[in-house]
Amino acid sequence: MASTFEFIDDYTAGSDVSVIDFSNVTQAYEHLEIRIAARSTYTGGVSDDCRISFNRSGTLGTWDQQMAIGQYSTDTVAEIFSTYGQVWMPRLAAAGSGVAAGQRGVVIIHVNDYANTSKKASIRWYGGTVEAAQATQSKYISFGGASWSETTAISEIRIQSGSAGLKAGATVAIYGIKSS
């Protein structure tokens, strides 16, 4: 039987970059899985949001999202409405003082039925960064989901950090999951 979980594309930053973009994403699968291992260039703190957006050459739309957060020894929930066409996801390691140079944040995202133009895109994610030497925002995990206002098939994907760029070595990989 043919493989149903297949690699589509990946990118590893050779130097610091502002964003990582994928275009012409194939519509040949039922679902997408996106895996991120990255560190932000943000120097003002020990972690920084990871963000995703779709089809930036078209309508950015709005996002409604819901998440549960574990941060150091506290837990919280958040409901976020974004008019910027971006989804706030788990925090990546950042470049603030005291964060180990090798520290990275990881995020895994599912986008179900992403090519269906009768459905508004819906995503679900989990991930975070847990850095041993720091507290508070360098120990941060979350899981949640978001709904996009657009029914457009997803052909472009952008991954970026919230407050700066992405450090060299940041990797993003996209997998396709078939249904037949």
Binding site: T4, Q66, A68, H110, S118, K120, R124
Partner: protein, 182 residues
């Protein structure tokens, strides 16, 4: 070599009472389900429960779930060991009162499903939006949970049904078999 294989996929062309796959082969290590669903229930959300091998009486399922909705406490809570459950709730669907065209993103692992020496464990969850363009509406639910079916049977049938409504047209479910060896 393929580790994930499609066992079944169905997208409903009209409102349908439930998704079901029978005669599931026992040749995989695990089962994995991905769903993109919506309910006809005339509210904002409807729990999408799972029934294994037709067992649907009280105490057949035990579960603990983190359910998140809204912007603040008590938006997150868990439901400790529900011994009265006749169905396993791990997933959700937006209801008919939700914005048109929004569907949930659900998943569920059924681990070591062919074993006959252990209860069947499931882990999964869902993001079920109410609106894509509103804030603090308390209509977007996210849940993540674990469920145990208190049977030691090989799993041959999976049924997924909403608590109240049918699955709305366009709802889709895919069942995968996941291998442990080549």
């Amino acid at each position: 070599m393929a580790a994930f294989e499609v066992i079944d996929h169905e997208q409903f062309g009209s409102d349908t009472a439930y998704y079901e796959k029978t005669s599931i082969p026992d040749t995989y290590q695990h089962l994995y389900i991905l769903g993109c669903s919506r309910s006809t229930r005339d509210v904002y959300a409807d729990g999408s429960g799972i029934i294994l091998n037709g067992h649907n009486t009280n105490e057949d399922y035990h579960m603990t779930t983190i359910l998140v909705y809204g912007a603040s406490s008590p938006g997150a809570y868990d439901t400790p060991g529900d011994t009265q459950a006749s169905i396993g709730y791990l997933m959700d669907s937006p209801g008919a009162s939700a914005e048109s065209n929004v569907f949930s993103t659900s998943h569920c692992w059924i681990l070591d499903y062919a074993a006959t020496d252990k209860f069947t464990g499931m882990i999964g969850g869902a993001s079920a939006p109410g609106y894509s363009g509103d804030t603090n509406d308390y209509l977007h639910t996210f849940n993540h949970g674990h469920c145990t079916q208190t049977k030691t049977e090989k799993i041959h049938t999976v049924r997924i049904k909403n608590g109240v409504g049918n699955f709305a047209a366009g709802s889709a479910w895919t069942l995968y078999g996941v291998k442990a060896a080549g």
